[in-house]
């Protein structure tokens, strides 16, 4: 009884000040419109001022001015593709579109940190990563237009097909990484050989069992995989506080690997943090969880209406953190780019938009009997019987109608 009495006086039995600190940190509420907190890695302020960071500066120190202008170009062009796709959906040319507006830096920063032999497993919003991997944007539109489920060869670009089921791809990524280990393509020191996998998902996916299982499998196998969570604050209409009680990056500790929160609207910081994590994975030091703290400026998809579930003041806060404006300010005041450059990128964006629009409108519908293709590698009698039945049924119309 005396022990209880001591505990009730406020001196928690056995709890050191450090433990109390940790507990307080773990149970601190998630801010409604946070700025990521002091632990968030940032190399560029929203105003475009460079911040020194002892740990991460080395990952960006070799970037040339041309590299930085390349980042800017990526950000602008993929935003332009996204805007055009959104417009095409509104005009009835796409069934649906999942916009990446606001998340360009998280995707370009991480996508550009990959080496050719690395492999990305995306969800369905990673248009910027696809861009960095060289996937034709029209292929992305094909999925949303309904002409295919993803028309690119995943092994040609080392960019897997979009995965709609939330979080499922994190396990595929982990298994792929286990394959890399078995191929001996980890920790050889050969820059062209050592490989890693990066798995993309959103904050909502962190609630999924698959994501948690992938953390377990990656941890116990020390798999070369980077878990890249774009915390865009909203899982359709559910805010962060409906998904988690602790900052997401802190979860990694419970699984036994490092977690880091990065400003997802700061392309330099994302590039640096992803470089570090991919390097660690490639050299055999296992997984890292990256929480890119960002914001989905638009709707979850063109089917929902964000004005029903979030306030405009929140959007205004995030407009100030725009990833493109931030890099542009930096390039301007450090004189790494001039107006001619920005004008040229703008013009390139206009041309790209035209290409995307025309490509979308001219995209041929798949032939009806193609739906019987590629179900199995080996011939399957049931599929073949139905293919013949389908062909005979359609042939009946041409002979009867005489058209």
């Amino acid at each position: 009884m005396s022990d209880n009495a001591v505990a009730s006086t406020g001196e928690k039995a056995g709890a050191t000040p450090h433990e109390e600190e940790v507990l307080a940190e773990l149970t601190a509420p998630v801010p409604e419109v946070g700025d990521g907190g002091p632990e968030m890695v940032q190399l560029l302020t929203p105003e475009g001022q460079r911040i020194e960071n002892v740990e991460y500066d080395e990952y960006v120190k070799d970037l040339s001015d041309e590299d930085l202008r390349g980042f800017y170009r990526d950000l602008v062009l993929i935003r332009r593709v996204d805007a055009e796709a959104t417009a095409l959906q509104r005009q009835g040319e796409l069934g649906i579109w999942a916009s990446l507006l606001g998340q360009e830096a998280a995707q370009v920063g991480s996508g550009r940190a990959m080496r050719p032999q690395d492999y990305a497993f995306p969800t369905y919003r990673e248009h910027g990563v696809a861009w960095c991997r060289g996937v034709d944007p029209l292929n992305l539109l094909g999925l949303f237009r309904g002409v295919n489920h993803g028309g690119w060869d995943p092994n040609e670009k080392n960019f897997h097909l979009y995965t709609i089921v939330i979080g499922a791809q994190t396990l595929h990524a982990t298994g792929y990484a286990m394959g890399i280990q078995r191929d001996g393509d980890v920790g050889t020191g050969d820059e062209d050989r050592d490989a890693a996998v990066i798995a993309y998902f959103g904050d909502g996916a962190t609630a999924q069992g698959d994501v948690n299982e992938s953390f377990v499998y990656a941890a116990v196998n020390n798999a070369p995989v980077v878990f890249f969570c774009q915390n865009n604050q909203w899982a359709i209409s559910e805010p962060n506080e409906r998904q988690t009680r602790i900052p997401l990056y802190q979860r990694a500790r419970g699984f036994g690997f490092p977690g880091v929160r990065v400003d997802g609207n700061d392309v330099l910081a994302v590039y640096a943090v992803t470089q570090q994590a991919l390097n660690a994975a490639r050299s055999g030091n296992g997984p890292t969880f990256i929480e890119a703290y960002t914001y989905r400026m638009g709707a979850h998809t063109t089917s929902d209406d964000p004005t029903k579930y979030r306030v405009s003041a929140e959007v205004e806060v995030w407009k100030h953190r725009d990833p493109i404006e931030r890099l542009k300010s930096y390039l301007v005041h450090t004189q790494k780019a001039d107006q001619d450059f920005f004008d040229a990128v703008e013009a390139e964006g206009d041309e790209l938009a035209v290409t995307v629009r025309e490509g979308c409108l001219n995209m041929p519908d798949p032939t009806p009997d193609s739906m019987f293709d590629h179900i199995y590698v080996e011939e399957h009698p049931v599929v073949e019987a139905e293919r013949k039945e389908f062909a005979a049924y359609h042939a009946g119309f041409t002979t009867e109608g005489g058209h």
């Binding site: 089921v165 396990l171 298994g175 280990q181 069992g209 299982e213 377990v216 499998y217 590629h374 590698v377």
Partner: protein, 324 residues
Amino acid sequence: MGTMTIAKGINNGLRAAMERDPKVVLMGEDIGKLGGVFRVTDGLQKDFGEDRVIDTPLAEAGIVGTAIGMALRGYRPVVEIQFDGFIYPAFDHIVSQVAKMRARSLGKIKLPMVIRIPVGGGIGAVEHHSESNEAYFAHTAGLKVVCCSNAEDAYWMIQQAIESDDPVLFYEPKRRYWDKGEVDETAASRPLLEAQVVREGTDATLVAYGPMVKTCLQAAEAAAAEGKNLEVIDLRTLSPLDLDTVAASVEKTGRTVVVHEASTFLGMGAEIAAALQQRCFYHLEAPVLRVGGYNLPYPPSKLEEEFLPDLDRVLDAVDRSLAF
């Protein structure tokens, strides 16, 4: 040529596949030192190492989900699910990812993986250890579903499943694991996706697979003593279904009883009966009858002998068929 159990047949088949192709890896819970809860993978980790016989964490979605990734990297994973009733956490990966990835990729991807599932009841187990869920997967396009019933097939079919470039669900009749049979490890194997007439007859056809093949053969023996000559077909493949072999038999006998452990409602028997009435309508002397589990959750084991089709229920159905 040697005599071995079904479990040993699968074990030897896995061993042969692993020796032949270094990309074949096994994944599952307790498959390493323990050799699996049914000892089907006994000794394989010792001989092939922990990198090829992978003891996984206890998470079925994780097992199948990571196996997908291994297959995408060029491996041929063979995963073991401990019991039929534990497949459901991995259901999403099997039907939404494994089955569809080839079609989604317009043929750019193949997923050569095998999912081994000990199936069925009759071993006095607690709940979730005795289920027959093959219809869920046979219903899903993109998968192949097979079920072995004897040691010879166990040995060959597991190797053929592993060699298939399509994903295969491989059902193993757990109450027959210890049944012995002749295995010729040098003979040419019969095709994976082909049913087999395992007993010739003229009066009626019994169609079965997995654990019920033995029951049907016993029923045919008993019927023969009463002067009835029954043909027995071991389906072996459930998807694709080898209807040609079944139809040829039905056109000969005119009467069919389909037997399986799974509930008859929307089970394999429903598909077979429907397909036969479309294809063999003028040859049928009686409606296609089904003998299977009742439409219930698998009962406590003290009642499983009532739930599972046995020799008498099969013979009763044969009598009803012959009475038409």
